[in-house]
Symmetry: C2
Subunit: 240 residues, 2 copies
């Protein structure tokens, strides 16, 4: 009887938001044998409950460690996710969701998050970064596209001591070209407790989804097309 | 008699550390007519007094606004500037200063700082970022080199809504190819109060330089070669 190959002890830093996509990404990194260090940023988001979900997922999935970094991006302005004065769009059609960059875009957010992941990775001696961006069923954010990932990988290898010393950084975005339906199927296969993920941009205090923002619309379509039931879809925030 | 051209109202974000180089950079941005927004990060640095100096410089030089962002990089580890357990090297020769990347390197620091500057710039509708890195009389940090600046500029234009909408970001590093002596001369020409800048990696509580770390060695050489006197050089921290 052959023993299964011992998982590699290579370390990776995984950005974890508490949503479905990043939880799936963390599970994939662990499945690939990476000793995974999860990183969550408390950036002043409207949906702060997602940090609690990130803590739960990091523990349930077996991250080696989990850091929650405080960085209030409120000073940046210009986003519905960090500025209570800008409304999260709701009730948009599929067509509207897919046209243009919506006000839920947070300026340079993934650049900031990847920079922090890069800093921690270099401190840990890890050369692999994972993030759960998706360029198929998404909101048109510029920092969720392949050309962004490529540019960050180039930057990482010029910006750091490890990169310069020829231990190349790799940015992994395993969901990049998947449909939301495939992400839902993979989350199911990987045994993720999706009831403890939150995708909604404007959830209630206990994480109840509004059911009407773009993120809820995309998530609902994913579950529908995957032929699976979203356990969070039955609970709605009171004012929805 | 011709009137001088009216300065452009274009906005720029300028990274300001409280050191000589970034103060000079801010003064240059203002001289070039940019309405300048200064950004300082309180990142858990050993030399926290530099934040006070940044506040003083932003005010004295006429920044339009100044933000100090709290982001504790202590979790990253691996640097003498953020980890009290790692000593700042002192008393090194010029040759030692110029060989290899020293333990004062903070993993991915300039990537993190530029990311924050990019986020704020996009919120402000500014397409110009300034930082005071130098690749001549410097400590060999990878994120102070031209190839780093170029890679970040490419990234900025792929990562953001403004960049994608063809309002290209430019990363200005006006000191990049200058000697420290030239920086000192420009600071003098621009009327910067250099007594209110701190370059030392390990200053005393009131900003007294140690006189022996790499930053002090490089600064002293710059003033010597410029034929100017550094008003901060006469005050030494008690244990130096």
């Amino acid at each position: 009887m052959e023993s299964r190959p011992r998982p590699s002890a290579r370390r990776a830093v995984v950005l974890l938001s508490g949503g479905l996509d990043s939880a799936t990404t963390l599970a994939l990194a662990i499945e690939q044998g990476f000793e995974s260090y999860a990183l969550t940023v408390r950036y002043g988001q409207r949906h702060a409950v997602e940090v609690d979900r990130a803590v739960a997922q990091a523990q349930a999935l077996g991250a080696r460690a989990h850091r929650v970094v405080d960085l209030d991006l409120g000073f940046v302005g210009g986003s519905a996710l960090t500025d209570p004065g800008i409304d999260v769009p709701k009730g948009r059609t599929d067509e509207q969701v897919e046209s243009g960059i919506p006000p839920t875009y947070v300026p340079a957010r993934n650049t900031v998050f990847l920079s922090l992941a890069l800093a921690w990775a270099e401190g840990l001696g890890a050369c692999d970064l994972f993030l759960g961006v998706n360029a198929v069923d998404y909101s048109g954010y510029p920092d969720c596209r392949p050309e962004f990932i490529e540019a960050f990988e180039t930057l990482a290898n010029r910006a750091t001591k490890l990169g310069v010393e020829s231990r190349p950084f790799r940015i992994h975005a395993p969901l990049l070209h998947w449909t939301k339906a495939r992400i839902v199927q993979e989350a199911d296969r990987l045994g993720i407790d999706v009831s403890r993920t939150v995708s909604c941009y404007d959830p209630g205090p206990a994480g109840e989804p509004c059911g009407r923002c773009d993120a809820c619309v995309l998530r609902a379509r994913g579950f529908r097309e995957a032929g699976l039931v979203d356990p969070t879809a039955g609970v709605r925030r009171a004012d929805s």
